[in-house]
Assembly symmetry: C2
């Protein structure tokens, strides 16, 4: 049973509270990604300071290293990584399908496309997909593994996350026949995921995942199925362009119960957060803030970014964003950050990541306040 309560609405946008075994999460909420049981360059102390409410860890990466057995021996991820607030794990499905296809771990599933067409999602040659599950080779040592709905649920139980995700199919191809096959497989795996959880006596909250690519009819079918079977609704799969993604959200959410929490998987650029929340999404996770930071792209006000490596910042005494209250902006200049960035210093990653996560976390807090005061359309970014 989901412990989600909606406190207020402004149009379709919602403000709520989600109770979990590790505390209450205020929604809307953005979760930084801690793929390998660490949000890259951030300590739990940093994340607490910033006000991060939950992190998402990747089952695929953790099953291969250090191995779920090790994490289980600690009593789960919370103890292992020293983080006592909520954790969400994914099913591992996305990674085993996108492995070897050049997609970065946990990356956004929006395939950018200049001509508006959706590109086929790449997948590894070595995977074998059957009704049973997915056979794949470890990106670390080439060893062979299988992920099934039952296996994914067992791993997620031992990882001990507060929120989990049903095992789903990501074998996306842009035609109705294949999409339908994929939806049917996802539905079968969803039921097996639920049955496995019941058998394991897991009390974790599980998201079912709405698929259907950019096909309105299949999105609606998948949304209805997910709502009938799950207490928490995740939106996944390939969306095509941003415009198509927003359309798919518009088609999907009217099909699911108002009182269920909704998570837009793997999405989290600034404009996506705003557009998603306006449409009724409650939760997000994305590597954007952390990955952008590592590559020198830092968030500033007015929905902009700056590239800290640019020579114009060489002697710039201003903080990254003069309106930001984070530790980095309160103490360090663009010139210093540029120097650290160009020098390949580890401290650059700490300070830049801190800022980007703070910026997004703070933005979502502002959005939450704007919803409460029925002022979302006038929110200044």
């Amino acid at each position: 049973m989901s412990n989600f309560k909606i406190l207020h609405k402004d149009g379709k946008a919602r403000v709520g509270l989600l109770e979990t075994p590790h505390g209450v999460i205020e929604t809307p909420n953005f979760n930084p990604v801690g793929t390998q049981a660490t949000v890259k360059a951030m300590s739990p102390k940093d994340l607490n300071e910033i006000g991060v409410q939950m992190v998402l860890a990747n089952t695929y990466h953790l099953m291969l290293r250090p191995g779920v057995k090790v994490i289980k021996s600690f009593g789960g991820l919370h103890k292992f990584m020293g983080w006592d607030r909520p954790i969400m794990t994914d099913s591992g499905g996305f990674q085993v399908f996108s492995l070897g296809g050049g997609m970065e771990e946990g990356s956004s599933k929006v395939v950018s496309s200049k001509n508006g067409k959706v590109k086929e999602s790449p997948r590894p040659k070595l995977n074998k997909i059957t009704e049973e599950g997915v056979t794949f080779q470890s990106h670390l040592d080439g060893s062979t593994h299988i992920l099934t709905p039952e296996k994914s649920m067992e791993l997620q139980l031992h990882l001990g996350a507060d929120l989990t995700v049903a095992f789903d199919d990501h074998e996306y191809r842009d035609d109705a026949k294949h999409l339908l096959e994929s939806i049917e497989r996802t539905e079968g795996w969803a039921k097996r995921s639920l049955a496995a959880f019941k058998k394991l006596d897991s009390k974790q909250l599980m998201y079912g995942v709405v698929h259907g690519g950019t096909n309105k009819k299949l999105r609606i079918r998948s949304a209805k199925f997910t709502d009938q079977n799950f207490e928490a609704i995740a939106l996944g799969g390939i969306y095509g362009t941003k415009k198509q993604m927003y359309q798919m959200i518009d088609y999907t959410l009217p099909q699911v119960s108002e009182n269920k929490i909704r998570h837009l998987l793997g999405i989290g650029e600034i404009e996506d957060l705003i557009e998603g929340i306006k449409r009724g999404v409650d939760m997000f996770d994305c590597v954007a803030p952390t990955r952008r930071a590592r590559f020198g792209s830092l968030y500033v006000s007015n929905n902009q970014t700056l590239s800290i490596g640019q020579s114009k910042y060489k002697a710039d005494k201003k903080p990254i964003d003069p309106q930001c209250s984070c530790y980095t902006c309160q103490n360090f200049s663009r010139a210093y950050l540029r120097h650290l960035y160009l020098s390949g210093e580890i401290l650059y990653h700490e300070l830049a990541t801190y800022h980007n996560i703070y910026f997004v976390t703070n933005l979502v807090k502002k959005i939450r306040k704007a919803i409460i005061s029925n002022n979302l359309p006038n929110l200044k970014l």
Copy 2:
């Protein structure tokens, strides 16, 4: 005029206070190295938490990137790097001589030697050493630069450190004739360093550097010269084996005034700190804690280290050092650190470096207390 006061002695070991424009330093003291205006992987907040009293930054690296002009425009290093406690800069001399020779920046000057002989210190082919100074090529872009005593003093003035070092000769060769030539050059450059500071009206405290390799006679000559001309005494150059280094300290320190602060440049392994302090050294700097951390070598009690990558730590729930009170040891296991280390995670570097610097800082504090209670010989490591 040095503002150094000795508060207590136990044998030759001393406890003192050094007043600087950015606060009082309790001695003995160990300075972590912040080569590029950052102690690798540590924020100023981390260093403050640990109780670090001073950091050492490298003039050579900073003159090339971001350039001293940029740092000067901030009013100096303190503002640029967000560190308001004391800073020491070196002269740049060591780096321009050791460039290209495979020595890591700021590395220990002890050349390890299995047969007990001192190896020739490597130096770059492209350097031109004259009485004027040293011409060298940037390791970043090959551009040609010159460092002279006057130039080094000007750079150190603009960097604005509390403690500085006179420009010295590092063209070491293991024979008396060359050593004598080198000592004479160092003496000439020392006088020019002093004259340059006077002309620039610098109020910074400047260390003169005692050289002489492993030659007792030359060490004594250099010590006397340095004591006659400087308010602060640094011990530099090549020492050979550890045993020879301790001998050279024994020969040198009786030649210098009791009331002057003494810094053993570039040295800071645990046993060196203890042996140095016992012999009357007050200050140390070394990349050992930070570099060891990056390569998986972590300090534990009883003057030991552990290699965190070893498989025996795979599921080890103990902290790095069960006796350590640092943030890392209070919150994380060896198993988690090993996982982060093997996964190449940035957080590994933060947590490991934090521990190693804390460990050394705390050890020197314990040594200080032991001196005050006349109990240094019984100190338990």
